[in-house]
Assembly symmetry: C2
């Protein structure tokens, strides 16, 4: 593993654990097992290092979301595949959602630029598909954006608010994990149930 990779991985761990403001360059250097000056040698400054980490995190997560937007499946299959693959991915990267949401809220201006990128999640196709399935009588009338928000909410929230959820429902890490496994399929069925005619 190159030094740059060591730094990057260390930075990802620390930034995801403490956020941009809470992370210390020295801590990242320690985690990487190298001298602090190397951070600035490889990544100009804290902001650049952070942007590299955030950009990477976001570009890992975005395709997971894009999956639902660009396939050829029926709406129901899209929902099933999305929740399943997204939760599978996030179980392996449980800190990503909270990290992205936190930094996005703390850094709106910088981060909104991501959504002008061509690679950004683009829901327009899915929205027109929903509208079509409504007029075709396959599903009940619903505001497509609200439906989309419901899907994302049920999928992402438990991870983003992990501590809150665990504390409120008084569940352990393993029980949480079990529930997330169950959600891979249960969310989809729940949503489909609520909209199918």
């Amino acid at each position: 593993m190159t030094t740059e990779e060591k730094i990057f991985n260390a930075a990802r761990i620390i930034f995801q654990r403490k956020g941009f403001a809470g992370a210390r360059m020295q801590e990242i250097a320690d985690e990487a097992g190298i001298n602090k000056a190397m951070l600035h040698y490889c990544f100009k400054n804290k902001q650049m290092l952070f942007e590299a980490v955030f950009m990477n995190a976001f570009s890992q997560l975005a395709p997971q979301i894009n999956g639902i937007f660009f396939s050829q499946d029926s709406l129901f299959d899209k929902i099933r595949k999305f929740t399943h693959s997204y939760i599978s991915f996030v179980i392996l990267n449980p800190y990503l959602p909270a990290f992205i949401i936190q930094e996005m809220n703390n850094n709106p201006e910088f981060v909104m630029s991501f959504f002008k990128n061509e690679n950004r999640p683009n829901p327009t196709i899915l929205i027109s598909q929903i509208e079509k399935e409504i007029t075709d009588g396959i599903i009940k009338p619903i505001n497509p954006k609200q439906l989309l928000m419901n899907i994302i909410s049920m999928t992402v929230f438990p991870f983003a608010a992990q501590m809150l959820v665990k504390g409120m429902l008084q569940i352990s890490d393993t029980e949480f994990y079990t529930m997330m496994e169950e959600r891979k399929t249960s969310i989809a069925e729940q949503i489909i149930n609520s909209i199918k005619r």
Copy 2:
């Protein structure tokens, strides 16, 4: 307004905007329009000031959630009332959810103590009610905790991840607000639809 109140309000604004690590004592003093030394005169130190703000925020939000747990209504009515009253409240305090979730993730140990409090949200009654309505054949079988998670997710997530949602769906502040108003009733109907026999 007393000086202590001025400080507290300023601290709430700054902490909610930047989080504990990102907030600067000087910034809070400026926002309050007083000298920095007063912060330490009224609230010992940054940690104490933060805990006062967080405690207050949490104790405002908790009763909103407790509402759903301790009423005598039917499950469907509980869901309707909860989503409506919770969203109404959060529209007036749109930064609360993100703030609480963020600090809860960054500060698990300190914050988990809240859930040992007697005043904590306690879902056991609601969970047994759900179990009862399942055996009574009023609703379809479902893991009660999953159902609860769904309700909370759909209600809280759009606020917690406001920037993400706005960026992804490409909606303005006003459109966001309109959608949240719509959600006051639509979430409940959505969920009820998905579980009623």
